[in-house]
Symmetry: C2
Subunit: 341 residues, 2 copies
Amino acid sequence: MLTIAVDAMGGDNAPACVIEGTIQALRESGNRFSVVLIGQAEKVEPLLAEQDTEGLNLRFVHAPEVVTMDDIPAIAVKTKQESSLVRGLKMCKAKEADAYVSAGNTGAQMAASLFVLGRLPGVLRPTIYAYFPRIQEGLTNIVDVGANMDCKPEHLVQFAEMLTIYQRFAAGIEKPVTGLLNIGEEEGKGSEVLKQAYKMLKEADSQGKICFAGNIEGHDILKGNVSIVVCDGLVGNTILKFGESIPEFLGSLLKPALQKLVASGDLDATSAALASSVFKSMFEPFDVEKFGGVPFLGVDGISIVGHGRSSSRAIKNMIFMAEHMIEKKVNAHIAEMLSEE
Amino acid sequence: MLTIAVDAMGGDNAPACVIEGTIQALRESGNRFSVVLIGQAEKVEPLLAEQDTEGLNLRFVHAPEVVTMDDIPAIAVKTKQESSLVRGLKMCKAKEADAYVSAGNTGAQMAASLFVLGRLPGVLRPTIYAYFPRIQEGLTNIVDVGANMDCKPEHLVQFAEMLTIYQRFAAGIEKPVTGLLNIGEEEGKGSEVLKQAYKMLKEADSQGKICFAGNIEGHDILKGNVSIVVCDGLVGNTILKFGESIPEFLGSLLKPALQKLVASGDLDATSAALASSVFKSMFEPFDVEKFGGVPFLGVDGISIVGHGRSSSRAIKNMIFMAEHMIEKKVNAHIAEMLSEE
């Protein structure tokens, strides 16, 4: 039976919401895997005691230290060896667990995963992606979104290869299509790194490793003609954070626009409230919580990273994602493709 | 009297809309400057003849060739010496005109401006910026948005310095504040280039050349705590194009959201139409046409670049922008600050 280590201390609503999500995952799955919940006994045990965990494959392991959102990743990994983060990953390394799931400090989790688990054979740099909404059905993944700066062409190519494998084997996308984010569509555009990456992506395409659609530009991201957008971590991180700020920005525009229309008599209060609700419902198709998080691709193990704001449903879905990645042998496929290079 | 050279052939609606914008600028200004309209006689003259240009300081110069939107910049500049683009810039170089204004091929205009006008003393790389909406009043400028790839720290610092001068002298912003786009707020974040740029921007701040607020992230752009966002051309270009695609994307979300509410009976057709109009009015505060275009900063002359979709009003405002830049001696201030370095 698979064992998934879950960080009880990770996330803004931890440990309560992690406990709830874990129990939901075990119940919904009919106990088909086991979960080891790791965290501070004094915080987790009282909350666990309030829940009905009778008959669930659930075990608690105490970890006295906690990595907080404010901890500096490289320092936290070294100084907090007794944290749920380091303990959970060490359980994976020792084969006591098959995956680690957390909604805690993303930077610290990446640093610790790399440090404790190491890289898969052939992988130059592990990477992390993000989901983006799109006009076409489905979601687009952007890679890298902040784990890697100053990417060389071969790094960008491996990001595309790893994400292609993930999408093909674990996300059910038959033919994932990759676009290279650039300042123009034509071959020969952009920096030396991008020109070289273009050539190498074309070669990877001709070898059947990926399906490469060429350069794409910023305005193509939301269209969704490709399922994988490859870029340096600075670009991906900026677009991700910019995108996340749009709903708040639009909200700040909507309020005065509605007030103006109500003041001029063109709109009554009921219709204004309705317009607000239409606005909110617009974003419903992009329910990123159904995925819960993203795997840190390229490390020799499974480490799923969740958003700090993760709900219990997001935690549950991260656990299912971990199970799915194990079953689909995503890491074996990555090692197979990349160690050939 | 100042003379402004205007490219009659530039833009999707040229030459009609350029002619209209030019006449509007001359009428509104009470003929306080003169305009030389440059373009193909067979296309421009019949349209000019339809207008009442009696008493206006307007002169037409024939240029047999046209640089199109599809022309490759570097090639167009070399092979189309008899185009309105090259002729107009050569008039500036020969002091027959004080500024050049066009809504044509941006890349070609930048290449030709650099080639014909050269750089101002001390300027390493001329640059181009773009306007961004924000939650706070006003607009934010992002620099560079595609003219420069692989920027070195000293390039990023000069972009901030040139835009600070433009905002201070020509845009009426008393104390322009610069942010460095990065993956985190803390000093020491990001690539080697960004770490070094951070130090140099801090130094420029201590010398009183700019006002530096430190690192900012993607989610800060729309907030508007800074008026200048500095980044490499790839990042700026991607954010710019991504941002421009948002209204279409939102439109694609609004329609099904409204249809769903109408179908469920929660919304009547009249209210649905109203919600659509609210949505459209939301973006009214961000009327980028009132600026018309942006100057290509750092070249030894004034070259104003407009959007291909420029209306006659945008053309008119680009002409006023050119006049303003001349009067405020923006280039002399740039040369003074940058040649000291």
